[in-house]
């Protein structure tokens, strides 16, 4: 474990009107970790992701990533600093082809200007060619290269999830945020997904923060786990600690009873 955290979330919270959706959250992620974020429905997990990615601006606290303050940056700026994400309800560019979906993620690396594209200068061709090659290589890793010309909306559900992860990775993140990647998958697909996550983590030297409902899955792969309930962190620690934590049990049981 390195000594300075890659991501440091210091006492962060957000208020919508009078409602505190998330408050006083402290999270530290270190380079190369695979961390789980769990909690009952409505605990504020996705809101927390939205705070990290700049969709919402925190009303309290501070987020630093690789030593830089993220508060108030636009989502696209945060992505360019090296945090990318997937969405709980898949948000692909449906009418674009699989290949183009990935190319969009490469956009921020493109060096050819609008003018050079309009005038079809050599830099346009070399830039586009480079993007295309990179994107195809990328799709191969995910076994999606055979589908590259298919419109994203026509892919089966599991493939759409894969593509979304591929697209997020193509944006060259240091930290990848996965919002319920296994939602709606059968056990076989979930297993494949977990292998994929383990693989990309090693291949791309990633740090991963994972929101998941599937408890065995989280317990099985994550090194540390944070638990959110009612917008507050109620526990953190190893899967073993979390499993036995009375507060966590109460939070989950409480949910099931109601």
């Amino acid at each position: 474990m390195a000594n300075t955290p890659l991501l440091k979330v210091d006492n962060v919270g957000i208020q919508f009107g009078g409602l505190k959706a998330v408050s006083g959250v402290n999270v530290e992620l270190y380079q190369g970790e695979l961390i789980g974020l769990i909690g009952p429905n409505g605990a504020g997990k996705t809101t927390f992701f939205n705070l990290l990615t700049g969709v919402y601006v925190p009303t309290e606290g501070q987020i630093t990533f690789g030593g830089e303050k993220l508060n108030g940056l636009a989502p696209y700026q945060i992505t360019r600093k090296g945090i990318s994400r997937t969405f709980q309800n898949i948000r692909l560019f449906g009418d674009l082809s699989v290949l183009d979906n990935v190319k969009v993620a490469y956009h921020s690396l493109a060096r050819h200007s609008i003018l050079s594209s309009i005038l079809r200068l050599p830099s346009h061709f070399s830039g586009e060619k480079e993007m295309e090659e990179k994107a195809i290589d990328f799709l191969k890793i995910f076994n999606l290269d055979g589908l590259k010309d298919e419109a994203a909306k026509n892919l089966p559900y599991g493939q759409q999830r894969r593509l979304e992860i591929a697209r997020a990775l193509a944006a060259h993140p240091k930290l990848l945020l996965l919002d319920e990647p296994a939602a709606g998958m059968n056990p076989q697909e979930t297993k494949e997904l977990m292998d994929l996550i383990a693989f990309i983590r090693k291949e791309f030297n990633l740090t991963i923060l994972l929101i998941e409902h599937d408890m065995p899955l989280v317990m099985g792969v994550c090194e540390r786990i944070y638990v959110l309930d009612h917008g507050q962190l109620i526990a953190q620690g190893s899967p073993e600690d979390i499993r036995n934590n009375p507060k966590v049990i109460e939070a989950y049981l409480g949910e099931e009873v109601s």
Partner: protein
């Protein structure tokens, strides 16, 4: 005193905007559609009123009632024929359809009866002028304001005290959930169109009496301005539409009063853009953000 005079004129104009705006806001609230054809229902109301006074020889209130009934039926027909098949279509498709319906009514009317304007006969309502503290008030203005206010009160009663009103509120909040609760969503939407169109029809007759001249394209500008009024008050919010209409009417009259009458039509749009940029949810609206 000039200012007070203009404010009073503005209130009369504003109550017409408010009546039209109510239909916009109710329809938007329930099916999220900017019903561009609404201004044309207003025009149809004006013509129905005109013909029932001149041809059928009705007096003001029967003419008003007839215009409201015919417009209500007309509004429901528009909804059933053009908008219902598009319930699940994209917003853009629905908006384009509304524009299409609007053009169809306008030019259909011209096709049927020609583009020539008509003038409402004088003397439908007694026109007497009072002077109170140096301000001239016409008895017509008072009656018009009274009718508008009465209609708005009836509307409030329908929306808050009747079963239909409750269903309307439920559908606008969550159509699917309302359907599961046994509410007939289609009928409720039709009822909304009927009520909104009846109010526009009433506004048409009132407009005719107050401003005399009516013609087939008369609905476009008041329609757009009424929409602005609805946005100003917070779209989907009934009291918002009333206040928005009155505010817009008064602001327009004041702009004419200070000598910029040529800019009058522009004022509504400037107000619209300011409100959209600084407070898109309107004066009375709550901010709703897209769920990520």
């Amino acid at each position: 005193m000039e200012i007070v005079q203009q404010i009073i004129n503005g209130i009369s104009l504003g109550s017409i905007y408010a009546l039209i705006a109510l239909g916009y806001t109710m329809v938007y609230g329930i099916i999220k559609l900017i019903n561009f054809a609404h201004g044309d229902v207003f025009m149809v109301g004006a013509f129905v009123g005109f013909y029932s006074i001149t041809v059928m020889g009705l007096s003001f209130f029967p003419a008003l009632l007839l215009a409201m009934i015919i417009c209500a039926i007309f509004g429901v027909l528009i909804e059933r024929i053009a908008y219902k098949p598009l319930r699940n279509a994209t917003r853009i498709a629905a908006l384009i359809t509304a524009i299409g319906v609007s053009l169809f009514i306008e030019y259909g009317t011209i096709y049927v009866r020609g583009a020539q304007p008509e003038a409402y006969p004088a003397g439908v309502l007694p026109s007497k002028s009072f002077e109170i503290l140096g301000v001239t008030i016409n008895s017509q203005s008072i009656l018009i304001l009274g009718v508008s206010v009465a209609l708005m009160i009836i509307l409030q009663f329908i929306v808050h005290k009747t079963k239909t009103g409750k269903a309307m509120r439920a559908v606008s909040y969550d159509a699917e959930a309302a359907r599961l609760m046994g509410i007939n969503v289609d009928n409720t939407i039709s009822a909304t169109f009927a009520i909104g169109s009846a109010l526009a029809g009433a506004a048409g007759v009132i407009f005719g009496i107050y401003y005399v001249k009516i013609e087939p394209l008369m609905g476009i500008i008041p329609g757009l301005k009424a929409f602005v009024a609805a946005v100003l008050g917070g779209i989907g919010i009934i009291p918002g539409a009333m206040v928005g209409g009155l505010v817009l009417g008064v602001v327009e009259s004041l702009v004419s009063a200070v000598g910029y009458s040529l800019w009058r039509d522009g004022v509504a749009f400037v107000v619209l853009i300011l409100i959209l940029i600084f407070r898109p949810s309107g004066l009375f609206g709550k901010n709703i953000r897209e769920k990520v």
